[in-house]
């Protein structure tokens, strides 16, 4: 079998699969929403800062790093245990969250942000 024919067939398959992937996943997911919000909050995070996440999105509070991979742009993921003073409160719109009130005490609100599904409040402990 001709080398160039095989390579073209493989490339064609990869191109079709990639196109199908982008079409299949073109609608924003929760992850995309949160990533978009985090990108707009990027300026509040110095390099090496660790983000503490408090949220009511199911499963997202299991591992901070696991969450931060999806929820934060690259500047945020570098962990630094000494710098874990920034907390993102993430709640679904309309859902009560008792943690939020507690967390607001002794904290300064850095920014607030909403999209069509979530509310984001970024606070820093005083």
């Amino acid at each position: 079998m001709k080398n160039w024919v095989v390579l073209i067939l493989l490339a064609l398959s990869a191109c079709v699969a990639t196109y199908c992937y982008t079409v299949k996943f073109d609608k924003p997911t929760d992850v995309d929403r949160i990533r978009g919000a985090m990108t707009s909050m990027n300026k509040y995070f110095p390099l090496g800062a660790r983000l503490v996440l408090k949220c009511d999105v199911p499963g997202a509070d299991l591992f901070p790093e696991y969450v931060s991979y999806y929820l934060t742009p690259v500047k945020l993921i570098a962990p630094n245990p000494a710098g874990n003073d920034t907390t993102l409160l993430l709640t679904s719109l309309g859902s009560p969250n008792g943690t939020t009130d507690t967390m607001f005490k002794n904290s300064a609100v850095l920014c607030q942000y909403k999209d069509d599904k979530f509310q984001y409040v970024l606070i820093r402990r005083l």
Partner: protein
């Protein structure tokens, strides 16, 4: 070996060496453009010379009908795999791709973040080698696409190349056997899910398979020794267990790789992977399984219930996910008896690898039930394509000996 097969095997070598050069350039602080130039230079020379020395004429000795059928089977297979992938593919891969491979890649995308990689949560396994992570980071920087398409494309291509390379390696010997193996793999949803789930097990399986394909030529062509060594080095750069697979492979093919001055080619092929692994491992945290060994290891080895548990999981996996290999392993000895020949050296090497995994589970310091439950099905995938290829190679030979 045909040129098309060599081209396919060259791709994971290129990707592996690009990821090594990229990682080393981050360590020494080279500008990204220099790394790209180095990869281009490496790509040019690593393709040109070995390709000229390894590959044969593409269609010599084959009838037009057989070539036509081969194309038809290949095209049909590619249509099936592309179609099935659409329904199976997850957007972000599965657990390991989130928490290990794609996560580590983030740290390698900027030189400043690399040093933080080794201080992440131990559950994220910062000691795991970086073939996949560094490749993703390199490609993201090269294309400017910091998104999930890059790891998907990489995972898809590797998943695709495994059955295609087996087909190309076998169709000249025995087209029906080649087609059977090809369709068995591309219609195996379990394999496709793992490949599209962006696990590192499938790249390791592909590299290990290519080493077995390449070693067939190594006795006659020194350039094949160079390529085999590079493939084995890449195996070790994908996952820690790649070291074990490469070690067993070298032991079983020692003479082919080192005799008659071929050791020089072997060293040339494996030098960069070994250097990169030394640089990486000297900075990375210790592996949790190795670190967990100590006085308790003897007790673990003497505990019969652990053997029973691992055996149960092993048989469960072969009965549910690897039925073709199970059937092949039953038929294979019958073929050997019929042919009055010993089993191939390489099938013994693969069984040794399986035994190696078995004992890794026996001495694991983690909860055994959890460990085998969460990883054994994927670990066997690392050997699955090589098993299929080696057994198909034997079955093809028997047909010829019967006077096809």
């Amino acid at each position: 070996m045909q040129k098309s097969l060599f081209s396919i095997m060259w791709l994971p070598i290129l990707m592996g060496f690009a990821s090594m050069l990229y990682y080393l350039s981050l360590v020494v602080g080279l500008p990204f453009i220099v790394t790209v130039l180095l990869v281009i230079v490496f790509g040019y020379f690593s393709y040109r010379w070995p390709c000229k020395n390894i590959s044969n004429a593409e269609t010599t000795g084959l009838g037009k009908a057989r070539i036509g059928w081969s194309y038809a089977i290949l095209v049909a297979g590619l249509i099936i795999i592309t179609n099935k992938s659409f329904y199976i593919e997850p957007q972000y891969g599965y657990w390991d791709s989130w928490t290990i491979w794609n996560y580590h890649a983030k740290f390698l995308q900027q030189p400043d973040y690399r040093k933080f990689l080794f201080s992440i949560n131990p559950m994220m396994h910062a000691d795991y080698p970086l073939y996949l992570c560094s490749s993703i980071a390199f490609l993201r920087r090269l294309t400017g696409c910091d998104n999930f398409v890059v790891p998907f494309v990489l995972g898809y291509c590797i998943m695709l190349l495994v059955p295609v390379s087996i087909f190309l390696a076998l169709y000249r010997r025995n087209l029906p056997v080649a087609a059977l193996i090809f369709f068995l793999i591309i219609t195996d949803d379990f394999y496709l899910e793992r490949g599209l789930g962006q696990y590192a097990d499938v790249p390791l399986a592909f590299l290990f398979l290519c080493a077995f394909i390449c070693i067939e030529e190594a006795g006659k062509k020194p350039a094949a020794v160079l390529a085999t060594a590079a493939l084995l080095g890449c195996c070790a750069w994908v996952k820690n267990e790649g070291n074990m697979l490469a070690g067993i492979f070298i032991l079983f093919n020692f003479k082919t790789l080192f005799a008659d001055g071929r050791w020089k080619y072997f060293l040339a092929g494996i030098a960069l992977p070994v250097l990169t692994l030394i640089v990486f491992k000297s900075a990375a945290p210790a592996n949790d399984i190795v670190e967990g060994q100590g006085t308790k290891t003897g007790d673990l080895l003497m505990d019969g219930s652990r053997y029973a548990l691992v055996w149960d999981y092993l048989t469960y996996n072969f009965n549910h996910f690897y039925i073709p290999i199970k059937i092949g392993l039953i038929i294979y000895p019958i073929f050997c008896i019929a042919e009055k020949r010993w089993p191939d050296r390489n099938i013994l090497a693969l069984l040794c690898c399986l035994l190696g995994y078995f004992f890794v589970y026996i001495i694991t310091p983690k909860g055994l039930d959890w460990h085998v439950h969460t990883s054994m099905d994927r670990v066997i995938i690392q050997l699955m394509p090589a098993f299929m290829y080696i057994m198909a190679l034997r079955f093809s030979r028997l047909q010829f000996s019967l006077g096809d």
